[in-house]
């Protein structure tokens, strides 16, 4: 799959959009002002998390053996691997119940995404695969390249449902606080993993994302994981999303050429 990706990029992922601001030499001007629509910042565009050189290897050690063409875990956010990446192990705000859940997982535990189930929130925004936002006054549509999964964030003033159907991506509503879109999500099912370390969550999990587009090419994304059953306090971290100008997301379906399934435990 990753080989195909590299080939595709060479073929047609360079559409110079007329709406991209440019510097005198014709290159996209990533420091131009953030576009606005209907009186709000327009978050629309193709985004991918900014890699922080060295941070993943400092946490996980050498990863060169895990690099395949088109997918380099060193360029993921460290928070993809652990929402508690900022804490020393003995100071992490995790409850003993949560640690027990992790200890008691079977040795051959297979995270659901390895069975082509959804990557989920916030992982799909922390992995080195882009996602596309299309914003209207009523909603934001997020289209994750990973398994080409849709997500909707309603911005029409509705409240979170009192009794949501448990879902892989939960149920999301957003509201503007000045130029920051504040997105609250609840209703997660108990199967989705919030990070690659498989830190546990309960159905009380609430995730807040704060999207703040600083300029044309940069967007701050602050994420707070709040689950009082599993963590002693809310955990907040921040990443930068970089706009990929004149580019696009690709088709990527996990089930295509999926060969692991026959090798995994049923």
């Amino acid at each position: 799959v990753f080989l195909t990706l590299a080939t595709l990029q060479a073929q047609w992922l360079n559409y110079p959009s007329p709406s991209t601001p440019r510097t005198n030499d014709g290159k996209p001007n990533l420091k131009a002002k953030a576009p606005r629509v209907a009186g709000r910042p327009d978050l629309s565009g193709v985004w991918q998390v900014q890699p922080v050189p060295g941070e993943v290897e400092r946490m996980l050690g050498k990863l060169d053996a895990d690099v395949v063409l088109g997918c380099d875990p060193k360029t993921f956010s460290k928070y993809f691997f652990s929402i508690l990446a900022d804490f020393a192990p003995d100071q992490a705000p995790i409850r003993p119940e949560a640690l027990a859940i992790m200890r008691n997982r079977p040795k051959d535990d297979v995270p659901p995404n390895e069975r082509c189930l959804p990557e989920g929130v916030p992982r799909a925004e922390l992995i080195a695969f882009p996602f596309k936002i299309v914003q209207t006054p009523q909603q934001l549509v997020l289209m994750y390249e990973v398994d080409n999964t849709r997500r909707q964030i309603y911005t029409d003033g509705r409240k979170l449902p009192a009794d949501p159907n448990p879902a892989w991506l939960g149920y999301s509503v957003g509201r503007w606080e000045g130029d920051t879109l504040v997105v609250d999500t609840t209703g997660f099912n108990d199967q989705v993993r919030i990070d690659a370390a498989s830190h546990p969550h309960s159905e009380q999990l609430r995730i807040q994302e704060r999207f703040h587009r600083l300029d044309f090419g940069h967007m701050e994304l602050q994420i707070t994981i709040d689950d009082p059953k599993m963590y002693t306090k809310p955990v907040t971290f921040q990443v930068t999303q970089l706009l990929m100008p004149d580019s696009d997301i690709l088709e990527l379906f996990c089930n295509e050429n999926e060969k692991d399934r026959g090798h995994m435990k049923k």
């Binding site: 195909t4 080939t7 595709l8 073929q11 047609w12 559409y15 959009s17 007329p18 709406s19 629509v37 629309s44 069975r115 082509c116 189930l117 959804p118 596309k132 299309v134 914003q135 209207t136 009523q138 909603q139 549509v141 289209m143 080409n148 999964t149 849709r150 909707q152 159907n165 879902a167 892989w168 991506l169 088709e251 379906f253 996990c254 089930n255 295509e256 399934r261 049923k266």
Partner: protein, 204 residues
């Protein structure tokens, strides 16, 4: 819309079109599909790709019984499918199809307004899908043209023309009526969840 075009946004309830040659409530099919000899030899689907949770493909996505939501803004129409949680983007900014399109499950779509009708042109398909659940075949030459027109506050007429000289000797059509459902939301739909056919090895 601010740009003067009709707004197709909303959750649309559509007839389930399992067989595009048949007619039924809110849909009119082509009873005599003009198969080429290649198509006649490929009417039987040997590998049921949708049972493996592979993408339905473009025409089966819009044929599916679950709702779709259209999200329209200037220069884009986003199609969100309840089925399989996926999406498709129609570029309405005047661009043409890229040359040397890699074949994909959903193809590449451009849209142009002809008066109040949005005409969506899609090419660049792989050969792994079928045009409908019945299994009518197509080749990589498949060319889909769809016409979307709001007929009143809660309805849209939909006409799709299938052209594929590899599989059909001439283009053929299917027409439908979509109904707007202002009170509906798309639900999450994960094909891989509990897919016992594959996970327990009942099908290959």
């Amino acid at each position: 819309m601010p740009d003067g075009h009709p707004d197709l946004s909303g959750v649309w309830d559509r007839p389930f079109v399992a067989d595009m040659s048949k007619s039924g409530p809110n849909q009119q099919g082509e009873p005599n599909l003009p198969f080429t000899d290649w198509a006649k030899a490929h009417l039987i689907e040997e590998f049921d790709y949708s049972a493996h949770c592979l993408p339905l493909g473009y025409t089966r996505g819009i044929n599916s019984p679950m709702p779709v939501e259209f999200v329209q803004r200037a220069n884009r129409l986003v199609i969100l499918y309840e089925m399989n949680n996926t999406f498709h983007v129609v570029y309405t900014d005047g661009r043409e199809h890229p040359k040397d399109l890699p074949p994909t499950w959903f193809g590449h779509s451009t849209g142009k307004w002809e008066g109040d009708t949005l005409v969506v042109d899609t090419v660049g398909f792989n050969e792994k899908t079928r045009v409908d659940t019945q299994g009518h075949p197509h080749t990589e030459a498949l060319h889909v043209v769809e016409r979307f027109q709001r007929s009143d506050a809660t309805h849209m007429t939909y006409e799709v023309t299938i052209s594929d000289p590899g599989a059909y000797t001439k283009p053929w059509k299917n027409t439908r009526t979509f109904t707007l459902r202002p009170d509906w939301e798309l639900m999450e739909y994960s094909c891989d969840e509990n897919n016992k056919d594959v996970n327990e090895g009942h099908i290959k």
